[in-house]
Amino acid sequence: MRRLFSTQWAPLLAATAVAGIVLGLATKQFGTAFNIYTILQTTAIYAAIGLSQMVVLAIADMSLAVGGIAGLVTIAVGGLYGVQHWPIGAAIVAGLVLGLVCGLVNGLIIAEMDLSGFIVTLATGTAFTGIAYGVTSAIPYSNIPPVLVSLGQGRASFFSYLLVPAIAMSIAVGAGFRWLPIGRAILAVGGNREAALLAGIRHKRAMLVAHALSGLLAAIAAVMYIGVLESATPATGSEWLIISFAVPIIGGTALVGGDAPAAGCFVAALVLAAINDVLIVLNVNTEAVQMAEGLLIFAAVMSGKLAQSVGRASPGRGRPLRSAGSLGP
């Protein structure tokens, strides 16, 4: 329990909860079940997008193709169901496999050609988006399977059904990084590539898995989003880039690699969704929402810095082993 409160995102969560309660009491709209459902629905999507980026940040790489993969998966699922008349289950599986394959392609190019993910995914992401627009001639599929709609828009009071896959993903990813050998291998390569290499860890395989997983998670996010939008449009994902970085960074993921706080990611998604909502409820224009997100990223990085300088005097140079409580991811 003490460890829970010493994490980087704990203060953030607390601040959001307090602000939420105050707003709930002060305004009529904010505290309603419907509004909370809206926030949680957005949270679920943001969390999925954030996780997709986090798994590549963990290996000290990045992916600019999260949105591109999502766009491609969206039209694949929409097209296979709406035009090819595949059963919805098969269409979704095909979409997820497509996402996985896209990620695998990124990972293969990056690992085998020893290129930076930034450059490779900048290229492939743009290509994926291009394919999505080309295939559909930019026209969305509007024949959306009811099951996806009831997933995306269904709720029990304030509880959005989308939280189920989002929470499951967070737990699965978090546990995978904590307990699976491949998860530890990805973090080891991200934390110190040289050390991992010398320990006989197959870094190319780790890179491949990280990117493939990122593709799969982006595909899940896309499938979740189809129902929310009630449309399968190639434009899905075009605005995901900033969110994909904001969520993991606010959640405490270092850009230099080596950690993957899935729970932090989820909390960050909640915070961003709440802020988004508050500003809309308070009738602030959408540009201000973006500005607030930017400031929040900054605040998250600063609070991380602050926690570090309070926790230990300077990186790795303090008195040896003051506390032994923190470990793992």
Partner: protein
């Protein structure tokens, strides 16, 4: 020649436990090894010696599967083997401790130790098993710490011990130690010597790379010396060669090792830096010390005693929480290294040259010039390589940095030359007080000698020097006064007579007494 050594004819018939034969390797046209060999008997500790850049690291990298040789063979018990990856070498029982610290800082000690082979229960990593498996290996090298503590909390010396534990835990048959003792103290070396000897008696063959010849004599039975990628001394008994012969084999000429013996308190002038009852955020309490112009003050202590932390506090990288710092007689508040250098002319030559001393990808001239940019910048802050040249070249020439061009990346230099570049930066900056933190860790005899000469020359020109070193010989050789630090306090100040035996005894007594007092207080 001692009688235990096998006669030559028997040697030829017993296959070596591990051997590299006639190995050739070049990198981008530069030959690193031209026909080097290394022959290791079962149960022996074999010294591999050579200057920085002689090819030792390349030879070790080939022995451990990091590089593939262009020509030559690797033999284990007479059979030829090929290592495609470091993993393949490890499977054959060949392990290495590199001179760089290869730790994943965010992982626990235990996980670093068992990296890539974490114990599993039903396919998932078991942290309980990991801690239990790691603990005995950690304790074997004297790391009595929580195995699940994060590796980032280790001091450089402790990190080195963890690396050794890591190699030991691989139950290797051949263990290559690439300068394992460069950042550990004499007491820790003693501890290590016992462990290595035990290990060797247990059947492991060990290759020991070090620049400290005293260690070679006390630990190793045979020695191989490399120079310019060739064997100069090939597999000879250590007892049969003198220190002088080894040095001559390494550098290819006779060098008169520098002894500063006679210059005690030659021209100590006005106090340059005074600490009055200073305490810091790191936990230093009540520190009083004075460093005068023209004086070398040695700061000795065990790893973790708080020496580096003190240096960092002085230049503003740690908060001063009490007391007063006085520079040139005036109270000073040094907020950051910029302040330290610009306003107080205090420079810090870091022990961690790879991470903190140099920007390895930048050119030599940029690395040295970094401290003078401020002084020479033009309108709107423009600087050019042309303008830095006059400040940058003299110290580089003076220190005899072996380089092809001033524009080559600092990372392409050997360790000793990197350290020279790191020092040249502060000479170019015309610092008046220099803090050298472990200035000769991991550099060879000749480079070390050059560094010593440089330090003495600097004080003779009126600089003041605080010399932090875990090499007690070095401290006794250079310092005018020796301060002994333990557990973030100054334990004693010892006037240095320059005689190693009595001074080292005094220093060690001070440290053991302090440790005993602490233990008594705790009990």
């Amino acid at each position: 020649m001692t009688s235990e050594q096998a006669p030559p004819d028997v040697r030829e018939t017993t296959p070596a436990a591990f051997a590299l034969e006639d190995v050739w390797k070049s990198f981008g046209g530069v030959t690193a090894l031209s026909g080097a060999s290394l022959r290791l008997r079962p149960r022996e500790i074999h010294a591999l010696i050579g200057e920085n850049g002689a090819g030792k690291s390349t030879l070790i990298n080939i022995a451990t599967g990091v590089h593939r040789p262009e020509r030559g063979r690797i033999l284990m018990h007479g059979r030829e083997v090929h290592f495609a990856t470091p993993g393949a070498a490890a499977e054959h029982g060949v392990s290495v401790v590199h001179q760089e610290r290869n730790l994943v800082r965010k992982f626990s000690l235990a996980e670093n130790l068992l990296l890539g082979r974490q114990p599993l229960t039903g396919g998932v990593v078991s942290y309980g098993k990991m801690a239990a498996e790691a603990r005995p290996w950690l304790e074997r090298v004297g790391l009595h710490l929580d195995p699940l503590a994060e590796a980032s909390s280790l001091s450089p010396g402790q990190a080195q011990l963890l690396e050794i534990a890591k190699a030991l835990s691989r139950r290797c048959e051949v263990l290559l130690l690439d300068e394992p003792t460069s950042s550990i103290t004499e007491a820790e070396f003693e501890h290590l010597r016992v462990i290595l000897t035990e290990l060797c008696n247990g059947g492991t063959s060990i290759v020991f790379v070090s620049h400290k010849l005293e260690e070679v004599y006390s630990l190793c039975s045979r020695i191989t010396v490399l120079r310019d990628g060739r064997n100069i001394l090939n597999d000879v008994p250590v007892a049969a060669v003198s220190q002088e012969e080894i040095v001559r084999a390494m550098v290819g000429r006779h060098i008169e090792l520098f002894a500063a013996g006679g210059r005690r308190n030659a021209r100590a002038g006005a106090p340059r830096l005074e600490l009055r009852n200073v305490s810091t955020e790191f936990g230093h309490r009540g520190l009083d010390l004075t460093i005068r112009r023209g004086e070398i003050v040695g700061l000795y202590g065990l790893v973790g005693a708080g020496r580096t932390e003190l240096a960092r506090s002085i230049i503003g990288l740690g908060r001063i929480t009490g007391g007063e710092i006085v520079v040139n007689g005036k109270p000073a508040r040094i907020r950051n290294p910029y302040d330290a250098l610009r306003h107080h002319r205090i420079g810090y030559v870091s022990e961690d040259r790879k991470d903190e001393g140099l920007i390895l990808r930048h050119s030599i001239s940029r690395n040295v010039g970094i401290t003078v940019w401020q002084r020479i910048e033009r309108w709107m802050g423009w600087i050019s390589d042309q303008r830095t040249r006059p400040s940058v070249e003299p110290p580089l020439q003076h220190l005899n940095v072996k380089m092809q061009r001033i524009s080559q990346p600092a990372g392409s230099l050997s360790g000793g030359n990197q350290q020279k570049v790191s020092a040249a930066k502060w000479i170019a900056a015309e610092a008046e007080l220099l803090i050298f933190d472990e200035p000769t860790v991991g550099i060879d005899v000749a480079a070390k000698d050059a560094m010593h000469r440089l330090i003495v020359e600097l004080v003779e020109n009126g600089s003041a020097i605080l010399l932090i070193s875990s090499d007690l010989r070095e401290v006794v050789q250079l310092a005018d006064r020796i301060l002994v630090m333990g557990d973030f306090r100054l334990l004693a100040e010892i006037a240095n007579s320059g005689e190693y035996a009595p001074i080292s005894e005094l220093v060690m007594l001070t440290i053991t007494k302090a440790t005993r007092d602490v233990e008594a207080a705790a009990a």
